[in-house]
């Protein structure tokens, strides 16, 4: 596995999942959700790119599992980051 490929697949996976979080109605990272359709579209595209990159590097089960774990992790952490930023916003 080429390290750059690993890096790019992870990066696009994290970015894609994060954009989908920003597109979700309950996101708190941004004060106002801006163009959710665009973020959702770009996010989905990035997630698919990430999956495709992983599939090119690993066995199919391994690639799908890695991809899912990455997305699960980002979506688990995202609400906490969003709530933290929302809290800081109300303070200032």
């Amino acid at each position: 596995m080429n390290e750059w490929m690993v890096f790019f697949s992870a990066l696009s996976g994290v970015a894609g999942a994060w954009l989908l979080y920003l597109a979700s109605p309950r996101q708190q990272w941004l004060a106002h959700r801006s163009s959710p359709r665009v973020s959702a579209g770009v996010g989905t595209a990035l997630l698919l790119l990430s999956l495709a990159l992983l599939l090119s590097m690993m066995g199919a089960t391994e690639a799908v599992a890695s991809w899912m774990v990455l997305v699960m992790l980002v979506w688990t952490l995202a609400p906490f980051l969003g709530a933290w930023r929302a809290g800081r916003r109300t303070l200032s």
Binding site: M1, G59, V69, L70
Partner: protein, 539 residues
């Protein structure tokens, strides 16, 4: 999605009860399991330096083997050639001598001293990584394996029920509240959101863990029942064709030739070691290693047969080259162990594991919060006994596990040479701190106990890298392997401010939060004497 209210109600009760019963054991399983993701680095970090001379190059393996067999003929029965010797396997050649029982054995390693003479050392692989793994496997229970494993299986089944019942409960609001986390005045709402944030998205991960754990606990009885009920001629394991007998002029290839041969046949497969067994004059071999593109059913490595006379690998046991049934079963193991994708995946699994531990912790907090007796007419009511007990138990067991693991890790570099049975001491230290933490939580109440135990956890974690630091100067028999295991010290050090921060939040809540709560020193119990009485009644 609409679900009838009465169904939700029933599954809420189911969820609460399986959660209360299994939650704390699952916390331990997940916390220890997260650490077990780095079992090998931990073992390396924890193993005292070997007195053996640096291993000879792999090209000189044959000479070393001849010297070993000449002085220790029993070694020829079962030995290992290590490709890259490291702290936990510090010799080029390692062999096992059987102990009293089949599972017991002693490992020896050999090297050449500077003058060319044979050196043999009884290897002392650190037992502490195994202790953490055992805590993980037996959900922290101090019972014999046979007993604890059955309980673990029951816990795994309850865990599966908790997952499905939890899903049923949130289904009606799933879409509306997806990824929501409302932090505000409503503390119950907040814990509910936190619990959901940790549990809903990672449901596939948790389902895999629950269902695989059921098999890890019960596979022996499962097979036994199926053998009786399903199969007409016993369990079919398939036949392996016996390896062809070597010709009279065929000799086993030297290790370096085997290594070249395997590397040519399996590109991307990093070879860890070759294992040899002698059976009636014929040598059988297998090769262990890992190709991070494919997960394995072993926790840390894959292994497959190898013809030691020709160097030909039999790939049908290798992930990525298996037949479909084997590949499916391999996938179940791999998804539990996170044995794919190398260290990157191991870090992700570690965070997922810690998030899982928090899932169970917040479940208990939610239970306590929903049973809070609220303040009325300026009177602060005494909180329910059950909420107080669960508060103390949650704090004591979770932080007890955290402190116990940190403390026993902190002792790692000081124990060898001072005590006879290092493994027993590690175990004793863990359970001593664990039991003391639980007792402390009951004696001090959930709120004060959490604050104090979190600070103790910070201290215990700080002591972990201090042992390695002492090892840099070789103080008191400690050691530090340069490079290897730095991550262990770094993670322990990083945990220190986290625990301190959590302790600060706990104190803040004690001071500023609701007084009508088990998390307040005022509301935790009406008066300290009653609290003491409660503690005695429970412990």
């Amino acid at each position: 999605m609409k679900i009838r209210n009465d169904i939700i109600k029933v599954y809420k009760d189911v969820h609460i009860w399986v959660g209360i019963i299994s939650g704390l054991m699952l916390f331990i399983a997940f916390y220890a399991g997260a650490i077990t993701m780095f079992e090998k680095p931990l073992e390396r970090w924890a193993t005292p330096p070997s007195a053996l001379a640096p291993p000879p190059p792999i090209e000189r393996t044959e000479a070393l083997l001849q010297a070993v067999f000449a002085s220790h003929p029993q070694a020829a029965k079962h030995y290992l050639v290590v490709v890259r010797p490291s702290a936990e396997a510090p010799a080029r050649v390692i062999w096992r001598e059987p102990g009293k029982t089949r599972r017991e054995f002693t490992e020896y390693g050999a090297s050449f001293a500077a003058d060319g003479s044979l050196q043999v050392e009884k290897l002392a692989k650190a037992p502490v990584a195994q202790l953490v793994d055992t805590l993980h496997q037996l959900v922290g229970l101090p019972f014999p394996d046979a007993v604890a494993r059955q309980i673990m299986g029951a816990v795994a089944l309850m865990y599966a029920v908790a997952l499905v019942s939890g899903l049923i409960i949130v289904l009606p609001t799933l879409v509306k509240d997806f990824l929501a986390l409302r932090i505000g005045k409503n503390i119950k709402r907040m814990w509910m959101d936190v619990h959901n944030a940790l549990g809903i998205v990672s449901l596939p991960f948790h389902l895999v863990m629950a269902l695989t754990s059921v098999v890890f606990a019960f596979h022996t009885p499962f097979y036994a029942v199926q053998e009786k009920v399903v199969y007409p001629h016993g369990l079919p394991w398939g036949q392996h064709e016996p390896a062809p007998l070597p010709g009279p002029d065929e000799y086993p290839l030297p290790a370096d030739a085997l290594l070249r041969s395997v590397e040519a046949q399996l590109p991307g497969f990093e070879v860890y070691s070759f294992i040899f067994r002698e059976d009636q004059g014929q040598l059988e071999a297998s090769v262990t290693g890992l190709d991070v593109r494919h997960g394995t059913r072993g926790r840390t490595q894959a292994s497959t047969h190898l013809n030691p006379y020709t160097g030909e690998v039999d790939p049908h046991d290798l992930p990525g080259r298996m037949e479909s049934w084997d590949a499916a079963v391999n996938a179940f193991f791999m998804l539990h162990f996170g044995s794919y994708g190398g260290n990157a995946m191991r870090w992700l699994y570690l965070v997922m594991g810690l998030a899982g531990a928090l899932l169970f912790y917040t479940g208990n907090l939610l239970w306590i919060e929903s049973r809070r007796r609220k303040q009325r007419d300026g009177l602060v009511p005494a909180q329910k006994r059950s909420a107080q007990v669960l508060g103390c138990l949650t704090v004591g067991v979770s932080l007890g596990c955290v402190i116990g693991i940190s403390a026993t890790l902190a002792a790692t570099k000081w124990l060898p040479g001072r005590v006879d049975d290092v493994a027993l001491w590690h175990q004793g230290l863990y359970y001593a701190f664990f039991a003391a933490a639980v007792a402390w939580a009951f004696a001090r109440g959930a709120a004060r106990g959490a604050d104090e135990l979190l600070r103790l956890a910070a201290l215990a974690s700080l002591l972990v890298p201090l042992g390695s630091l002492a090892g840099v100067w070789g103080i008191g028999g400690t050691w530090n392997h340069p490079g290897a295991g730095f991550a262990v010290d770094a993670v322990a050090l990083a945990a220190v401010p986290v625990f301190l921060m959590l302790a600060r939040y706990t104190r803040k809540r004690m001071a500023d939060g609701h007084t009508d709560s088990v998390w307040s020193t005022a509301g935790g119990s009406a008066d300290p004497a009653a609290e003491g009485a409660d503690a005695r009644a429970v412990t």
